[in-house]
Subunit: 300 residues, 2 copies
């Protein structure tokens, strides 16, 4: 029988948020030339405000295989670069046209569209340059494998492919299977990268990652259903972004297709299932279990 | 005394252009789902039409150190992904607002802005995933060093930083030193990556790359002056893109600051100087020398 350790999540979340902000502050020091505005836009979007759930997932994954906190922070920083770049580009007028993000003006509103596009592009490069740095991991083979996995999670077979499907969802009635596939790409692929990152760095063979992949799959969907519920039931002040947008755009979501009650039940079932996938692990998976519970309990 | 081999450039250029198109065709096979439009946009921008001068520079650099043609093609393919992604984003209405590129409609004109942004983002990921693949080079350390160098050339300290300065050039009168610095970032950094790629893959120490870096520096400026001259003296049909735009935007260029005659003389001097930097090499540097001559002789 597993004996539960005291909850680690609140303290771990604060520590990771501070570590990520500190790293961004160092990486994005303002230069003394015309590029200062570009760096200011990167700082605006990258520093402060986020929950840093993805770096926390990387840390929880590294916990399982005794990978160092420093490796976890730097790998999490790279993921956050990708996440933030995608938010900047998705918020653009040509995409979701959002004015508010993490309680602040979106980057193209605080600066301008051209600067926002370039700031996103630069964070995109920064992600990969962080991963291949010796400080992230001494083993170059492991660093190459991380880059491969992140590029797969970020590109047309992952996040960007999901965003493309999301654009098409405005003009086409998606069924539940198609919404599920879209969300697996749009948010699930990057979550899978985070959950596997510890295994990649510890060179755990693929066939030993089945449980982790199952956890990531179920967590990703539960996380997205919770997001859809917040879009329907939340308010802009608490969530820090515009709400009710999916309904206005006429886009199919988990909530529009299943109704809020069934969607909530489904998210709870997925979280239980995600934790079941961790049965082979002991207390070293405590943080992963807590994150699963948090994914659907959060208010923003 | 160096004995000149017969010119290799025309045949090498054709062979590289075919190899790059073939690789893109394989990497960007259309999927059978809603992401097909995204892949179609990537194919539109990436396949056909380009001179592939950057991959050719990679090949010429690999010639110096006996690095294989396959490594050169794949490294060149990654550079071309970065180059094409930057063209897609730079052409957007919020940036240079161009309608024509390589004689075809720009990606946002042929598709739409959102698809163009995502297609650029996906080619950006593709660049890095190509570099860390075993097929590019068997040594993971060399692959990590390539990623580091490409991210430095592409990000805020390179191409994207130069583009940021270029945006500011529309609102500010740049002097010759500032235009030079802007162009070293905007086009020079990626050219430097290409010229150093062979040395990186062959693990040639930094202090043995001084001549190569000098060549890249001078070639990059000569190449840009030639571009500025084509913008003034060329026509859209031959260059495949809109011309005369810098003058309309009131942007300072090498030509506006020096006048066409002095700019042309400067470009010729830089090409001679670039070739002088190669004095330590024999016929293995023939392709680099031919490319330098071509940089200012070209009509598009």
């Amino acid at each position: 029988m597993r004996i539960d350790a005291p909850p680690r999540l609140p303290a771990a979340m604060t520590a990771m948020a501070e570590a990520i902000d500190r790293q961004f502050d160092q990486c994005l020091a303002l230069p003394e030339d015309q590029r200062a505005r570009l760096y200011a836009a990167m700082r605006h979007s990258a520093i402060g405000g986020g929950k840093r759930l993805r770096p926390l997932l990387v840390q929880a994954s590294c916990d399982l295989f005794n990978v160092s906190f420093e490796s976890a922070v730097r790998t999490g920083l790279a993921v956050e670069c990708i996440h933030v770049y995608s938010l900047i580009h998705d918020d653009l007028p040509a995409m979701d046209n959002d004015d508010l993000r993490r309680g602040k003006p979106t980057t193209h509103r605080a600066f301008d569209e051209a600067t926002a596009i370039l700031a996103g592009d630069c964070l995109h490069d920064l992600a990969y340059s962080i991963l291949v740095d010796e400080r992230t991991h001494p083993d170059p083979f492991a660093r190459c494998e991380l880059v491969k996995a992140l590029a797969a999670a970020s590109g047309p077979g992952g996040m960007a492919g999901g965003q493309m499907m999301d654009l098409i969802a405005e003009t086409m009635a998606f069924d539940l299977a198609t919404v599920t596939r879209m969300q697996q790409l749009k948010t699930g692929a990057l979550i899978l990268f985070c959950v596997e990152a510890g295994a990649i760095l510890a060179r755990v063979p693929e066939d030993k990652r089945v449980g982790l992949r199952g956890y990531a799959h179920d967590l990703g969907l539960a996380f997205q259903i919770a997001d859809d519920l917040l879009d329907v039931e939340g308010d802009a002040e608490t969530t820090g972004k515009a709400v009710g947008k999916d309904a206005v755009a006429g886009k199919a979501t988990f909530v529009s297709l299943m109704g809020p009650a069934q969607a909530r039940a489904q998210a709870e079932m997925l979280v239980a299932q995600a934790k079941d996938h961790l049965h082979g692990f002991g207390n070293e998976a405590a943080l992963l279990r807590e994150i699963a519970d948090f994914a659907i309990a959060r208010k923003h």
